[in-house]
Symmetry: C2
Subunit: 232 residues, 2 copies
């Protein structure tokens, strides 16, 4: 049957499909609300409560919190990948990179949950990780172009982008609605220090492996509130 079902995981009988899809849409919408409000630290039970479904139903559909996260942020990852494409198309490589950083930091500011997605990693959420890895390759190109044009400091690394997102998440989380534009100033300051020529040397960039470990650790700490999902 070629019904264009979004997800091959669905084992419900065909007659139940539209019910299942309605259910899924309700859960996704609730999860989007809860993650936007509370970040990825939100528990599976608060998502179930918001959706008005039982916790068992939620876990049947999304056995791990990472699966739910991946499904909810699929469109955000699209927007992210799109921002990379826009940047690569920019004839001015520095303008492209700076605009990309501003855009993505703005996405973080608009959505606490997405701020977490960018600075954590969910090894079991394969779809999300794969998308992010593809985007990463494109970002590496973006950085190379800006350096080749002499507009980005030579010692800039892809890890610096992760650090910008971590710093931005700190500002966004701390200021919230009270000072909703504050992050723009911090990002502008960071961009000014990225621009070539560098004003001075910097302490070493973290090793990619160490940063990956940090992102993993952060997501595990957050998943601690996910409940039974950890053990399937």
């Amino acid at each position: 049957m070629n019904t264009g079902a979004q997800n091959s995981e669905d084992t419900a009988a065909p007659l139940l499909r539209s019910d299942a899809e309605r259910n899924r849409a309700r859960v996704m919408s609730a999860a989007r609300t809860v993650f936007r409000r509370d970040g990825l630290g939100a528990s599976m039970s608060s998502v179930a409560r918001e959706a008005g479904v039982g916790i068992a139903t939620l876990f049947r559909r999304f056995p791990k919190k990472e699966d739910l996260v991946a499904a909810v942020f699929a469109d955000r990852m699209d927007a992210y990948a799109n921002a990379v494409d826009v940047a690569l198309d920019d004839p001015d490589p520095w303008h492209g990179l700076a605009g990309f950083i501003e855009t993505v930091c703005g996405m973080q500011a608009a959505d606490y949950g997405f701020a977490d997605v960018l600075t954590m990693t969910f090894p079991t959420a394969n779809a999300l990780e794969e998308r992010r890895n593809q985007a990463y390759e494109a970002v590496v190109q973006l950085i190379g172009r800006a350096k080749a044009a002499g507009r980005l400091r030579e010692d800039f690394t892809p890890e610096d982008l992760v650090l910008v997102h971590m710093a931005n998440a700190g500002v966004v989380n701390a200021t919230g609605d009270a000072a909703p534009e504050a992050w723009k100033r911090v990002v502008a300051l960071m961009l000014q220090s990225f621009e070539a020529p560098a004003r001075g040397p910097l302490p070493a960039s973290p090793e990619p492996r160490a940063l990956y470990k940090a992102m993993l650790r952060a997501s595990q700490a957050r998943s601690a509130s996910a409940g039974p999902g950890k053990n399937g």
Copy 2:
């Protein structure tokens, strides 16, 4: 009686004093451990558990979590005030300010709890607030000197210091032990963009009042896990 008791709040009979003091020291040490490990979001009950005292005992001595926070971080506030003095004594105003920012960000990195203290505000913890306000006046002087020497960008505001601490807390919390030096690179980047001449204009600095509201909001959110202290 001139016993040099640290705290006039102590209403225990003189004979009980040394017991009470031992108890207090035990609670303080436990709170230090718990706040360092979990930040100020840690609950009063986890402090009581770590100290091996009943929750009622803990709340009798520290009716509000803010009181406990103020007591625990009194020495940290001393170190902070001391760092300001060192900076004001530096014959090179820029070197003094940059060193101060590095020192305080290092204190944040060494102690998650202190990272929270710098970016939250506890209106009922008068002692802590008073110390912080004194330090603030000195920091304003520090900024004025660095600008007068032409080494700090003219549009720098005291609020930018708070933003640095928020950004630094974001990096410190996200990287933890996995990349314990990463914050140094972010702080160095921020310092390079603070140095005069500015590379370009910046989005407006948040209003002091808005930032104060943000700090208040953050501490209230964290205090939500403090239990009965809110109404105590």
